[in-house]
């Protein structure tokens, strides 16, 4: 399935919808252009894998390679801390959706306000709503979703992908950013 339409059938949005991420290289280009990107990871990352790699390990690699701070919501932070990963901050998912609407807010002092946010690891509807907050009330921020399913409220999102294609895309993104393959 390669459809750029909401995974949950009724979750249509308004006049605008996300651009389809057809090539992972776009993510690399966007990250290079961004001054203060942020990666937000939810608790579904605790149980999901890409190939045999846990999503926590994947995001640690991605964060390290691209020097992106991570916000781990709820108990997700425990998994990062257990792997002695330090560039991680704890905020609730609704908190981070609220704080990012403040153009002066930043995850840590001197890091600078964020201009690009990547998200992963939430129930589909919850991510949909979080992205709705950002697209409507944080116009200074571009968003990329890294999950398998199309999120119309993102700025860029994968279309609904089969697992294999999604695995390939994640691998390529990591490779572009200089992480391990």
């Amino acid at each position: 399935m390669m459809r750029a339409e909401p995974w949950q059938t009724a979750e249509v949005c308004g006049p605008t919808k996300a651009q389809e991420l057809k090539k992972p290289v776009v993510v690399g280009a966007l990250l290079k252009k961004a001054k203060h990107p942020l990666l937000i990871v939810g608790a579904n990352a605790l149980t999901e894998k890409t190939r045999k790699k846990s999503m926590i390990d994947y995001f640690i690699e991605l964060s390290t390679a691209a020097k992106i701070p991570v916000v781990a919501t709820s108990n997700t932070i425990k998994a990062f801390k257990e792997k002695n990963f330090d560039n991680v901050y704890s905020h609730g998912v609704m908190e981070i959706a609220g704080k990012l609407q403040d153009p002066d807010w930043m995850v840590a002092p001197k890091k600078g306000p964020h201009d690009l946010v990547m998200t992963f690891g939430y129930p589909y509807y919850m991510e949909w709503l979080m992205l709705s907050a950002l697209i409507n009330f944080a116009p200074q921020i571009k968003t990329i979703t890294l999950g398998r399913y199309f999120q119309p409220h993102a700025t860029w999102s994968f279309p609904n992908l089969k697992k294999q294609k999604w695995n390939d895309a994640l691998k390529e993104i990591l490779s572009i950013l200089g992480g391990t393959k």
Binding site: S74, K78, K81, L129
Partner: protein, 785 residues
Amino acid sequence: MTEQKRARIKADKLDTGFGSFRNVEVTIGKVIDEDWDEPMGPTPMPGVTTLRDWDHKLLTKYEPSYMPACQLCCLCTFGKCDLTGGKRGACGLDIKAQSARIVLAACNIGCAAHLAHARHLVDHLIHEFGPRYQLTQGEGVDIEAPVSRLVTGIRPRTLDDASSILDYCETQLTHTLSAVHTGQEGSWIDFESKAFHAGMVDQVGMEIADLVQISTMGFPQSDPEAPLVEAGMASMDQSKANILCIGHNVVPAAAITDYAMEHNLQNKLDVSGICCTAWDITRHDAKAKIVGPISWQLRFVRSGIADVVVVDEQCIRTDIAQHAQKVNAPVIATCDKSCMGLPDRTNDDVDDIVADLVSFKVPGVFIGDHNKVGEVVVKTAIAVKPKRKGKTSLPSKKKIQELAQACRQCSECRRACPNDQPIMEAVLAAQEANFGPLGDVYDECIGCARCESACPNEYDLHSWMVTAAKDRWMNESYLVRTGRGAIKDTEIRAVGQPVVFGEIPGVIAHVGCANYPDGGRAIHDMCEEFAQRRFIIVLSGCAAMTVGTIKDDEGKSIYERRSGHFDAGGVVNVGSCVSNPHIAGAAIKIASIFAKRNLRGNYEEIADYIHNRVGAVGISWGAMSQKAASIASGFWRLGVPVIVGPHGAKYRRMLLGRADRAKDWMVYDARTGNEVQIAPGPEHLFYAVENMEECMVLTAKLAIRPNDTARGRAIKLSHYIDLHERYKGYFPDDVHTFIRRETDIPITLKDKIHAQMKENKWKERPIPDPTLLKRMVFGGNGGSK
């Protein structure tokens, strides 16, 4: 004026010099309630803007974060209007105000549902008992209606008083509803203020609804030992005729059990309920049974156990008549709000109606006369049972396996599932006679059947899950404590001080619907966790049922294990949706009984007291409805934080504090008039959590209040730190913000906290007598709000 009420004289027959009259009812002017010596507060019967300043204080501290479900507005013929990118609609609203307008619309709808319910109850009971019938919550409750007293300044002592209070509520709702119209309100903050107003009015309406039914219908009256009643699908005696009542308004269900008792037919019948009617019918008759929460409607009807389905109002599956028809179970609609397209047989002869239903000539009827409902339903159930022979619409496993072969693997079932359950994968497993995955989906299914509507093969997928899990639900039986009603004044007297000082670390209310993200076990686990930590756990509605479904190793439910007293470690079921104001009422009564604050027409002061002193937290893990929105709104205006489960994010607006902005956390010290920095507590007023783990940590944190004593603060911090370490895996880095003096530090954690305090250059702060209202400063230092 608010202390006035009408006097009525009613006579069956009146002989006068002018002639003889029958059924005369005369209203004679007004009578002053002279017995009540409590002075009237500043805001009796507040209008829409009376408490606007208070609302704006809260809404500035907890600014809304909107997450629009739709970027368009299509409410008028100017539209559709595109509200993206800062654009305004033809009426002038931007997306922020439009989002707030949607919040108000939801609260209005919820408030209307409860108010209409209350109005029906009051009118019906006045008809049955007369307007002067005395109201009571039972022994040990002098403050019989704290919310009504607080808001209206009236003590509802009779059904007529209750009616007068509803007059006020209905007027207010008309105003808040009108504000949603095109070209009325234009500001997000004022839409939100009106949503708070609708929520407050809703609390009054619900309180009246429960008060009048408690007073007249034989319910437990503030009884901590309210009966344990049977629940679960296996609790039905299938050798008897089974009557299922769905909804919230107990009057028709009560007419059924009353008729059965009066005609000595109880041994031939089992009467059960789903959703809040279940609670209230067991409060009326403890022999009645509870099937389960709102989400169990389809599974139970399709099982064929119910011989007759009776619907009253609210949260009913609107297609329930079609599903009942498939199992030859006649449907009786009883409420003018939900006639279900059925023919009105209110004025027909009972035996004619029964004959038509038993012969399946009609699938169901609408009957607006509740006494007639009782007779029709009982007679129909007994007569139709042998004809139905337990007809079910659940397919056999063999049939499922056969049908599953033609699955198109389109994933539409999964895409339609609110919980993204792997339904298609389960269907594919069923092709190989592996029904385990379908059974697993059942455990997390909320019973919406959207998968069925989406399936191009028109599979009855929900039924497939129910069949796959039959071994489980056929043995599902447990005991739950039915709703006790109000909290006694004596209980409040006992716990008021430890709650306000923080030594009982908080009061946690689990309320609301069954739209759970992953089954209902989380509610039970949260209740048990916090009861063990000596919080007071209060429950109502479907949440209160779900909590009882989990048994311990000895086969006991939480209600069997724990006390129903409003005390540390207690698990207290107050009852149905309309019992929720007993929870708000308990907080209000703490202000009245423990702190001796006047309640009467004194909303702002009491809300300020509760917000700063009473560590109450509301949780609605499966919040689904507009009623849940308005219930939450009633708590917000009292300054009580509410957490919802993940699906609650779909209310599309959070009320978030900013712990990192010190200026947001200032209060007046009522003793000195000085503005004082406080810790960010409660940090949020409305918050959707991602999962149970986040909920556990946040609940403990939101119980923190500025007024906590040193001991209370230390206790609350110990719980917060412990849960944070357990679920987040590290010592929380914000503990120092909650330390005012050395004595606030939990003794066993002194070293870690000292280190954090040093690192953050901590300075001692005073413990204020906290208030957001300048006029509450002693000696009149302020004089204005």
